[in-house]
């Protein structure tokens, strides 16, 4: 997707937080990435290194916390965990599953000093 612009958004938030907390260096950033967030992790890592240059986050480690995909099975009438938007229901095997969660893309926290 547009990992470069996502990283610019991340930079804005974490550099702002660093200033607010009076910390000079960001050592580690943890992102929550939903299964269906459309984010390509290697591309995000690449863009992160490039975009953070010259900021307090230069050289910071980037860690991912994977959030599973969730869906609503119209046949079972309940929430299920799915691997893919098109996955069948893991319980009944039916195909009528609407993805309801897993598009998270959040900055959880950062370690700084």
């Amino acid at each position: 997707m547009h990992e470069m612009s996502l990283c610019e958004g991340i930079r804005e938030v974490i550099v702002g937080e660093a200033a607010r907390h009076s910390v000079a260096r960001i050592l580690r950033v943890r992102l929550e990435i939903g299964r269906f967030s459309g984010v390509e992790k290697p591309a995000l890592e690449f863009a992160f290194d490039v975009v953070m240059r010259g900021t307090p986050a230069e050289g910071a480690a980037l860690e991912f916390i994977d959030i599973p995909g969730r869906g609503w099975c119209y046949d079972c009438m309940k929430d299920v965990t799915i691997e893919d938007r098109l996955s069948p229901c893991p319980d009944c095997g039916g195909g009528k599953v609407l993805a309801t969660g897993g598009d998270e893309l959040r900055i959880k926290d950062m370690e700084a000093q």
């Binding site: 997707m1 612009s5 610019e8 660093a18 269906f36 900021t55 959880k108 926290d109």
Partner: protein
Amino acid sequence: MCTVCGCGDAKLEGHGHSHGHSHAHGHGHGHDHHPHEHGPDCGCGTEVHVHRPDPAQGRDGGALHFGQGPAGVEVAGMSQARLIEIETDVLAKNDGYAAVNRRLLKALGVLALNLVSSPGSGKTTLLVKTIQALRARDAARSVTVIEGDQQTSNDADRIRATGAPAVQVNTGKGCHLDAHMVQHALERLPLAPGGVLFIENVGNLVCPAGFDLGEAAKVAILSVTEGEDKPLKYPDMFAAARLAIVNKTDLAPHCDTDLDLIEANLRRVNPAIEVIRLSARTGEGMETWLAWLDAEAERASPDARAAE
């Protein structure tokens, strides 16, 4: 992947800083068509460009400072590292602008639709025919258009030829419109209560899915020549859309396209999606589409909300 996208040279056609040519405009440039508010940290004034932080503007150039930790001292061997909770969506800033746009559009009673598709699906032709049909039924109907493309004002020119006000947003290297670009485009359009605003996104089935512009609904347009499995190949976009228009149905017999299979694949990705089969060229399905538009515009209009 568009690794260079979002680089910040997006501009509104005719209003960018670096245009080497001028356009004849049929629309006003005033900034006071209607009340508007700016999103967080905008401070754009009348300049029209999309702000991106300058990568060179690090807070302190990456300098190392000692003794500035919470303890105010530096003790060898003791880490001052600490955890700062953030819990912020990466797209929070875009979503902030989108919320402002949505409030403005709602206050005005304007139905805003975000039209998304691959390049060449026939979005602009469909829009031209739609505007002509809406105007033929009601010449006073307010229809406005925001056109997103990487380059050229060709599409906005085609829309303006119908008499509808249009603003072209050229994203430069960007692969999608974002809510901030749309906010500036809104300032330049004469939005009227009960009107319809079409936002024709950059032709791209991947990136625009993630960027809320403040629209009431995304409408995905898919032409029959693109293959029945397109919804399966690009599920994010079709999952995000409320309505799918299967366009160029007049070509289906020539391409051996199975329209039922397209529809089944759309529903696999999004069981709740509405589907309209249409040919902008022959007019097939246009009435269904116009009826859908009328119903949505009715829901968005101030009269309908007053009755609630």
